[in-house]
């Protein structure tokens, strides 16, 4: 039995957590509301709090301050909404694992279903609320965060096997936060492709109590096991129960796509986009599907939304502009296509990989309407971006640039890109296939096929040699060789991982060493940057962490 005095005061079962001394950000578009919340915090013992009135301001502040607590209103008028702020800040790595993010909403039915589990707020509070309720929720969130900190930290470092181990231990020891741990554990099983365990886990839970998230997890398992019919039923039931369950629409669309029903997939994404129009990636995908389904108007309006909502967010990319470009070209409106690409170049100045694709597309459009000179000019621009940022350019963009260069008879540039792609991806058969197809299509197979195979083989041989040296105990020699190869193919996953491994092995033998630590770390970072993180990467990161201690 606990009386209310205990709750708000110092009773044994009341929250004991003090919020004073914590860095807090309040986000609300109403200045009166911001002040009201700040007054509450003051009453609760925290004298200072930062305030932001819109998404842009909020993200800037989150970027430059390491907040302990963010209290964010969901509905911020015309700009970004609270969930977008959370997702962007998360995406950019601005939110530390210990930060408590609380979403303030007008309606309780939106709770728990707005975003992916790794981007969910720690709690929701419905307006209006009293300072007592705020205190209670903050205290609860702080305690919960502390309890689950080890899991969050491991997840943050992408050490999922560790996160699972910790979660399983905590679950067995009957923590107060069983439910939250279960939720995390389920998502971790899914993340690590542990579908058998995940299925068993979710089914056991659902046999006892109804929990939408467990059902959602089960749907994902069905999808992964390619039982799409069953999966669709699950996802559609979830959205029927709660129209805000946006992720369930996305997964339902994924199932339809897997069953080659693009019309149905488009329908699902359109519904989700109506409910929440501000998600750039979803609008882009909707645009792509609608285009394939021949619904150019829907496609163009989806891309337009993606462009509009992407413009001030970190989620803007070349995708929506290139999608729009295709639509405009298909409609035969070259002028509009060019002005769309111009806007894209202005918007994407800061991200070379995106800019490169847009500039390449511009060259293509000019080439298509017989503007050879203009096309050359943009190709040169693209080449410059490519050369200055080679390590940040995704394969897809390099491939398109090479194709455009070859089409415009710039053999020097085309050959250079083709051989670099072959070297950097000697271990990626899919890409090598695409590369060969591209040189075929552009009519340069005779000159270039040979280059592709010789570059690939050279690197493969180097890699093999490096491994052999290491195995025979010649670690230093191995490292030297691998490093040299990694310089030649800076984006190669195999070389970067093997170089890091060689550094680690050397340190295991001779003790930790700053230079080797740095080297290993930077090669791992390259893998991460190239988006090629996998189990082996995680394993090496862990080994490296162990050495540092």
């Amino acid at each position: 039995m606990n009386s209310l005095d205990m709750l708000t005061g110092s009773g044994k079962s009341g929250p004991q957590v003090s919020i004073s001394g914590r860095q807090i950000l309040i986000v609300d578009d109403f200045s009166d509301m911001r002040i009201a919340v700040r007054r509450m915090l003051r009453d609760l013992g925290e004298e200072t709090a930062d305030m932001a009135s819109n998404g842009k301001d909020a993200i800037e502040k989150i970027r430059h301050n390491s907040y302990d607590i963010v209290l964010c209103d969901y509905n911020l008028g015309d700009g970004k909404d609270g969930q977008q702020i959370l997702e962007e800040a998360h995406h950019m790595g601005f939110i530390k694992p210990s930060c408590i993010f609380i979403m303030i909403t007008a309606e309780t039915s939106m709770h728990f279903v707005l975003g992916a589990i790794e981007c969910q707020p720690d709690d929701y509070i419905a307006k209006p609320f009293t300072k007592e309720l705020l205190q209670h929720r903050l205290a609860k969130a702080v305690t919960k965060k502390d309890e689950l900190m080890d899991i969050y930290k491991a997840m943050h470092k992408k050490q999922y096997a560790d996160a699972i181990k910790i979660a399983e231990q905590q679950l067995v020891s009957k923590s107060r936060y069983t439910l939250d741990i279960a939720k995390l554990l389920g998502s971790l099983y899914l993340k690590t492709d542990n579908y058998e365990k995940a299925s068993d886990f979710f089914q056991k839970l659902l046999a006892q109590k109804y929990m939408p998230w467990a059902k959602f997890g089960l749907g994902q398992v069905y999808y992964q096991l390619e039982d799409y019919t069953k999966a669709i039923v699950v996802f559609d039931e979830l959205t029927a129960e709660n129209e805000y369950y946006l992720e369930a629409y996305d997964w339902s669309a994924k199932c339809s796509l897997a069953m080659d029903d693009k019309v149905q997939a488009q329908e699902k994404l359109a519904t989700a986009s109506r409910i929440s129009p501000k998600t750039v990636a979803r609008q882009c995908e909707l645009g792509g599907l609608a285009k394939e389904n021949g619904e150019l108007d829907i496609a163009s309006s989806a891309y337009r939304s993606a462009i509009q909502y992407g413009a001030h967010s970190c989620f803007k990319s070349s995708k929506e502009y290139l999608g729009m470009n295709e639509i405009l070209l298909e409609k035969g409106d070259t002028l509009k296509a060019l002005s769309n690409l111009k806007e894209a170049r202005d918007q994407l100045k800061e991200t070379p990989a995106d800019l490169l694709q847009v500039v390449t597309a511009t060259a293509d459009v000019h080439a298509g309407k017989n503007g050879k000179e203009e096309a050359q000019r943009y190709l040169e621009q693209a080449a410059k971006i490519y050369q200055e940022n080679s390590s940040a350019i995704p394969n897809e963009a390099s491939l398109t640039l090479a194709a455009t260069a070859l089409k415009l008879d710039d053999m020097k540039l085309g050959t250079a890109i083709v051989s670099s792609l072959a070297e950097n991806n000697h271990d990626d058969d899919e890409l090598l296939g695409d590369l060969n197809a591209m040189v075929n299509e552009t009519g340069h197979a005779d000159e270039l096929s040979e280059i592709i195979s010789s570059s690939t083989e050279e690197l493969r041989a180097l890699n093999k040699k490096g491994i052999q040296l290491a195995e025979s105990g010649q670690l230093k020699e191995s490292l030297e060789l691998l490093e040299k190869a990694a310089e030649k193919a800076p984006n190669s996953k195999a070389f970067n991982l093997n170089t890091a491994l060689a550094c680690i092995m050397l340190m295991k033998k001779n003790g930790a060493d700053d230079q080797l630590l740095f080297k290993a770390r930077s090669h791992l970072e390259r893998v991460e940057k190239a988006g090629k993180v996998d189990e082996r990467y995680a394993e090496l990161t862990k080994m490296l962490d162990a050495l540092k201690r």
């Binding site: 209310l4 039915s109 109590k209 109804y210």
Partner: protein, 238 residues
């Protein structure tokens, strides 16, 4: 071009209006608390303001909930919750109002009791009962949860004079004859109607939820309870 407002317009208007009124209420609450902080002696007189703000808010929530329940594609948003957390939180919401009114709120719930329910709707039901209790109690209110015979029973009890006999008789008659509660002329009726709907929507193992109103509470006054079909505690095995 103008057209007649459609159902969609109404839905949007309802959602936006509620959002807006909630903002106003939040500000109003803030001003009242600020005034009260400056004026400790007369603190009690502000309790009525806060009580009314809470009532307006509860009414709004109920209105929205009833609208949604009546909509074609309505379905319950059940999830699994710790009931002690749920009750403590409601307690925290009412803390200020009740304290100012000199009413003690006692929460009784065993540690770790859990159940699946639509939190938003059940919260609305308990709000309704607590509002009533706050008005009629002498000095105490008990908010209590127990698990019994396959049901989770959430009750609000007070040490006031109890429900008028005539009201209990009328309720009983309506329940016996299975007729709808008369909501046309009293908000009390509306509250009971809403509670019945919410209870009935909670179904499991062939049972449906229901409400009970008696004058046989632990504290001698009225006792309102909502009974939701619910299994035993969650047990996770790996």
């Amino acid at each position: 071009m103008t057209s007649k407002p459609s159902k969609n317009h109404f839905e949007a208007a309802l959602a936006l209006t509620i959002h807006d009124v909630k903002n106003s209420l939040a500000l109003f609450l803030d001003r009242v608390e600020a005034l009260q902080a400056r004026d400790e002696i007369a603190g009690k007189k502000y309790a009525d303001f806060k009580y009314e703000i809470k009532r307006i808010n509860n009414n709004l929530i109920r209105l929205l909930a009833l609208y949604k329940v009546g909509a074609e594609n309505f379905s319950l948003q059940s999830d699994f919750y710790y009931i002690d957390d749920f009750l403590t939180e409601i307690g925290a919401e009412y803390a200020a109002v009740l304290k100012d009114k000199g009413i003690e709120l006692i929460i009784e719930c065993s540690d770790g009791l859990n159940a699946s329910l639509d939190k938003g709707l059940v919260h609305g039901v308990l709000d309704n009962a607590l509002n009533n209790a706050a008005r009629y109690t002498q000095s105490k209110i008990v908010l209590k949860a127990v698990q019994k015979d396959g049901f989770l029973i959430l009750s609000v009890q007070d040490d006031g004079p109890g429900y008028p006999e005539q009201m209990l008789v009328k309720n009983q008659q309506q329940m016996d004859c299975n007729t709808d509660i008369d909501v046309s002329n009293s908000t009390t009726g509306l509250g009971i109607f809403f509670s019945q709907i919410v209870a009935g929507l909670h179904q499991a193992n062939g049972d449906a939820g229901f409400i009970k109103m008696t004058n046989q509470g632990d504290l001698g006054g009225s006792s309102f309870s909502i009974h939701l079909p619910s299994e035993e505690a969650l047990n996770i095995e790996l």
